[in-house]
Amino acid sequence: MSLTIEDRAPAEVARRLQVAPHHRFEFNGRQYLFVTDTLRVMREDALSSQILNVATSSNLASALIEAIAAPDADAQTLQARVEQLRDYGVLVEDGAAPTELEVGSGTTATFMINVSQRCNLTCSYCYVNEGLFDYPEAPIKKMPRATFEALVPRVFALFPGYHNYAFHFYGGEPLLNFAAIRVICEAAAAIGKTQGAKLQFYITTNGTLINEEIADFFDRFRFNVYFSIDGDKSSHDQYRKYRNGKGSFDDVMRNFDLLKSRPHIHIIGSSVVRDGFSLGEAMQFLEQHGADSCKAERVRLRDGAAGALQGAERDRYLRDTRDLVDHYVDAIANGRKPMDFRLISKILQLLLRKRRSAFCAAGERMFGIAANGEIYPCALHVGRANSKLGTLAQGVDTETARDFRRRYSAESQARCQDCWARHLCGGGCSAMIDRFGHEDCEALRAEAEAAIVVFDHFAKQDPMQLLTLVDPNIVAWMNSPS
């Protein structure tokens, strides 16, 4: 039971209260209040609004209560509500620092490996320049044998001690260098076994080059395959064309079915949402065709470029993002993981009340390895001279890596200082900010609002149901009679 103000010692009552940074928003007729520093969420009603509207500057708690003209609330109700707002961290005492934890540093190291730096498709919206990345001049086409044969031993030597090692094959189209993928996976399996490390394998592919041999290989190593499909034939072939101008849809769908026939491959259907192809349409298509998960992210193009989301299309994307609430609530309530997973990290942060200071682990325990063996914070930074952290031969310069992370942390970026979502976002994707600035913030805030609503939906009744997002079996056990 919480203390009322009158129960407290006089000195405590006399402390001044301030309104902590927070965000108030409406969703489906309900008012939500999110506290920036404590990551607490509460439904806002008329009385809370009145209190917050009055408490715009430092107030003594007693003076604050006296200042509220609330004909429907007696003094005790007012005191209780002020206390609740204090408990949630909306009203804070002068100088009080939030006690919430930062997210931990994790036990998985991820390496995004550019085994190929060319692509057999010519998608005009490609954000890695068809595999040329950001080098001032065209880089080598593919990772040489000497580099990929030495890669895994160097990775384990340079980054020792992790419980899990994740290898994510990236490009260009990585399957243009399947020989490298094969050697790296085999070597990782051998070294991982001797060191007792767990392994995860990922690939981002356009799906055009997959055959029976590759499908069997992915199945053997239990690959998570980010498989690019942009909707039906007309939508897909509008952008995803071979160099001869032919659309890739027919090949891609044939190979998608090939992967689906293998039991140990997890397919993450990946679509680029753009002008004329909405988030809702992308998710519906991927679900109908049997993807295990879906990743439908909006295109990143300068305004005015063909396909760029602008005006009503952009508004629709933000609306669709907020509407993911229903998708998540329905899945969790029915004991299954949602197909979309963009909100999961934020929802779990709200559950554990852990703030983040960086968007991702890039430069800390996630790295991009270029075809020539250079090391960057992630694959999207490859070729940017000011992002280079080292090489496979020489290792990572820890001071450079630390500077990189500091530069893109929410704490260091001026634009983040007044943003209510900064502890959920961590400052945004460094690779995108480096290229496009903070144009993605609106979408990230829409995601944060959706995550808050999903969290709140379960938080009051049964917050443990949210663990469905990670492991539905745990929730089934908790719900089972014993």
Binding site: V103, G104, S105, G106, T107, T108, A109, T110, M112, H163, N164, A166, H168, Y170, Q200, Y202, T204, N224, Y226, H266, I268, S270, S293, K295, E297, R300, F341, R342, I344, S345, K346, L348, Q349, L351, L352, R356, F359, C360, A361, M366, C378, A379, L380, C425, G426, C429, A431, L444, E447, M464, L467, V470, D471, I474, W477, M478, N479, S480, P481, S482
Partner: protein
């Protein structure tokens, strides 16, 4: 073991490392008696879930163009 009790135990285990240690080392103390095979299995799952949960939270804030929410944290798998 009542469902609510299990949920309370899991909720506390997620945020209290000391409690978690006792739970995994001496679950009978926490639950007040011998565990059913289902509960033993449930606790094993919980033991795996706790670090996995931290991994996901510390991986990436959002779906991103490069890899999506997984980023090695195996959200997808």
């Amino acid at each position: 073991m009542a469902n609510d009790h299990k949920k309370q135990v899991v909720a506390r285990a997620l945020i209290d490392p000391a409690f978690r240690k006792v739970l995994f080392e001496s679950p009978e103390k926490v639950f007040g008696g011998k565990l059913s095979p289902q509960d033993v299995k449930g606790l094993e799952q919980l033991k795996k879930l706790v670090p996995h949960l931290g991994e996901i939270v510390s991986s990436v804030s959002s779906d991103i163009l490069c890899t999506g929410g997984g980023c090695g944290a195996s959200v997808a798998a």
